[in-house]
């Protein structure tokens, strides 16, 4: 390949950087937005000491027995005001002294109320003289890597790689087509593959900055762990970005207007926002749709990124998600090269 050919690839790639760096909104969505999202989620779901559950009882003896448990905050209420307090949610459980038994009023569909029932019963039985048959001991674990923020950071990374690739490529290509710039470019001797390659190249370079910035922030501020090889993490990010770039190329290969492209992008991305386990585990969805969920590129990306960062899993054990991502790179790329509308 002679010099002028590579020169044009360099110029095309530089144009991508110039245009991106002169678009303040793009900088916000790529760099600032994911960090704001991580910050918001990190604050909302930070690990707090276990809640103290509010309960009530109808006799001072029962209140005393309940108050002996650190997990409960007990007060004295008569039957009717206790029922009212239950209804308004200011207590989770009401213990009523009846002639022969103690009755617990609580809502068994509320997990906190079920815990209050267990604690209250234990406190009352202990106060009445029950002894544990087996002696037990608590060893508390607050490990990094099992917090919500540790779970959500790789998910946000995957979602961000998807958004910047699909939006970045899709809108730029459709805009060039709409403004007849694409037509002007193919009327020149520009090698067509270089036009598309310049998008992928600029994406790869942007990736280093984008991912480094986001993960650096998550590492410093939240202490999110990086247990796997950083090179392999870099490879996974690059593969993810290429798969979504190919998808962005496919979405924009025919669309003539921004509106059409924008609609298509939402159709493609919406299922992944929902099903691919960005904010909660994808395994929560019913077994029937699991094959579909597993085949989505963002699910594969999130699984692989989480396995690398949180469990330190090596690439050799990530063959399935890597193969899925690779297929999502090759197939849409090949198809869009065939159907691409150059004018």
């Amino acid at each position: 390949m002679n010099k002028f050919r590579l020169g044009s690839l360099f110029q095309l790639t530089m144009v991508r950087f110039r245009l991106l760096s002169r678009e303040p909104e793009a900088i916000f969505w790529i760099f600032v937005f994911p960090i704001l999202l991580a910050l918001g989620l990190g604050v909302a779901f930070r690990n707090r000491p276990a809640d103290v559950l509010p309960v009530a009882a109808t006799t001072p003896q029962l209140v005393q027995a309940l108050a002996a448990d650190n997990g409960l905050k007990a007060r004295l209420l008569d039957g009717s005001s206790g029922t009212r307090a239950l209804a308004t949610g200011s207590i989770l459980l009401l213990a009523i002294q009846q002639p022969a038994v103690v009755a617990y009023q609580y809502d068994d569909t509320n997990p906190d109320a079920r815990i209050a029932r267990l604690l209250a019963d234990r406190a009352i039985q202990t106060a009445a003289g029950r002894h544990d048959a087996v002696s037990a001991q608590n060893q508390l674990v607050h490990e990094t890597g099992s917090r919500y923020i540790d779970f959500v950071v790789p998910g946000l990374l995957g979602m961000n790689l998807m958004g910047s690739a699909i939006w970045g490529l899709g809108f730029a290509i459709v805009e060039a087509r709409q403004k007849k710039l694409l037509k002007r470019m193919v009327a020149s001797p520009m090698p067509r593959w270089q036009y598309l390659a310049s998008f992928l190249l600029s994406r790869l370079v942007m990736l280093v900055i984008e991912v480094g910035f986001f993960l650096g922030f998550a590492g410093v501020v939240f202490g999110v762990p990086f247990r796997g090889s950083l090179w392999q993490l870099g490879f996974l990010c690059a593969l993810t970005s290429m798969a979504f770039s190919a998808l962005g190329l496919l979405i924009s290969s025919r669309a003539r207007t921004m509106e059409a492209a924008s609609g298509l992008m939402n159709v493609v991305m919406l299922p992944m926002w929902i099903f691919s386990g960005v904010f909660f585990s994808a395994s929560r969805f019913p077994a029937v749709i699991q094959p579909f969920v597993r085949a989505l590129p963002l699910t594969a990306a999130n699984d692989a990124l989480r396995a690398n960062m949180l469990q330190g899993t090596g690439l050799s054990h990530l063959a399935v998600p890597v193969a899925i991502l690779f297929a999502w790179f090759v197939v849409p790329f090949a198809v869009s090269l065939r159907i691409f509308r150059w004018r």
Binding site: Q11, R18, K183, A187, S188
Partner: protein
């Protein structure tokens, strides 16, 4: 003097040769059997109203559209076997390219320069297009005329042997238009072959060595602007409107002209009426005008408008089609 149907032979083979070109879109025959030859160094104009097939023809030449039938030969090459080579050797300005607004003039030209093996420097293209002061300005801040000159610079940056300009001055104000004409003049003097489309008659008359007038996908007239104007039959066009006042009334009404009497005046070649405006093509304006005045007075008519102009390509189009160029 060369025949209007063949270009002046400056080299052995024409720079552009089109034979039997046809192209249909869903419901329109955009180009309907077109033959053209353009010689090296010529500035050739495709003239016609919107929808005449000018842009389709030029895009077939540029390799952007594939014709249904017919052959295109340029610089001894064709699009089937010599596409890469052809793209290196032609320069193109499309009708409505919008370059990225956030790139500067210089960056845009550097990008286009990188596509060509040979070419002029970015500096030279900026100088040719007279954009020196705007070199570091963003494209989004340029005026219409400056954007068009940038498009021209992008077409020139590969030092093309053959240059296609599709409606280069459409939408420009008169001053920007004259500026662009000067630019094309310079290119002609430098010996480049230029093919341009336009629906402005004056532009074609001012710039083109030869003109093909197109209508409904065909060439309906071909020749130098002077040859085509000569076919109108007179050197000048007289336009007038008349009123008539009935005896006893003060309200002037539209007058009825006896056209036969006008045609009978020596020097008057033809007569037509368009929206109450009468048009005569005449020779020897100084002799025929007094006679026209006399005849109209004899018919009891008052002139409400009267003007004359030298015959233009517009008049050629009107004579050939009965329509004005700017009618849709």
């Amino acid at each position: 003097m060369t025949s209007p149907l063949t270009p002046p032979r400056k080299s052995s083979s024409p720079t552009l040769l089109l034979r039997g070109l046809r192209k249909a879109y869903a419901d329109v025959q955009a180009v309907d059997g077109l033959d053209l030859e353009v010689a090296k160094g010529e500035c050739f104009g495709l003239l016609g109203p919107n929808g005449a097939g000018k842009t389709t023809t030029i895009e077939i030449c540029e390799g952007l559209t594939t014709p249904d039938e017919g052959t295109v030969e340029m610089l001894g090459l064709n699009w089937r076997t010599g596409a890469d080579e052809l793209r290196q050797r032609i320069g193109i300005q499309l009708q409505e390219t919008q370059f990225p607004e956030k790139l500067t003039v210089e960056e845009t030209l550097r990008l286009f320069r990188s596509f060509y093996r040979h070419g002029i420097s970015v500096d030279e293209s900026i100088r040719t297009a007279q954009l020196e002061e705007k070199r570091r300005s963003r494209v989004g801040g340029l005026s219409g005329g400056q954007k068009q000159r940038l498009a021209m610079a992008c077409a020139l940056v590969g030092d093309p042997e053959l240059l296609f300009l599709d409606e280069p001055t459409t939408g420009l104000d008169p001053q920007a238009r004259r500026h662009l004409w000067d630019l094309v003049d310079g290119l002609k003097q430098a010996g480049r072959t230029v093919i341009l489309t336009t629906h402005y008659m004056e532009e074609a008359e001012r710039l083109c060595d030869r003109v093909a007038i197109m209508d409904h996908g065909r060439v309906i007239a071909l020749g130098t602007p002077q040859q085509l104007i000569a076919t109108v039959g007179g050197e000048d066009i007289v336009e007038f409107a008349v009123t008539h006042t009935e005896p006893g009334s003060h309200q002037p009404i539209r007058g009825v002209v006896d056209a036969a009497e006008l045609i009978a005046i020596p020097g008057v070649q033809s007569h037509r009426v368009d929206a109450a405006l009468h048009q005569l093509s005449v020779t020897e304006l100084h002799n025929s005008v007094p006679r026209i005045f006399a005849e109209l007075a004899a018919q009891g008519l008052h002139l409400s408008e009267f003007r004359t102009h030298s015959a233009t390509l517009e008049d050629v189009f009107v004579r050939l089609t009965g329509r004005n160029l700017r009618d849709e």
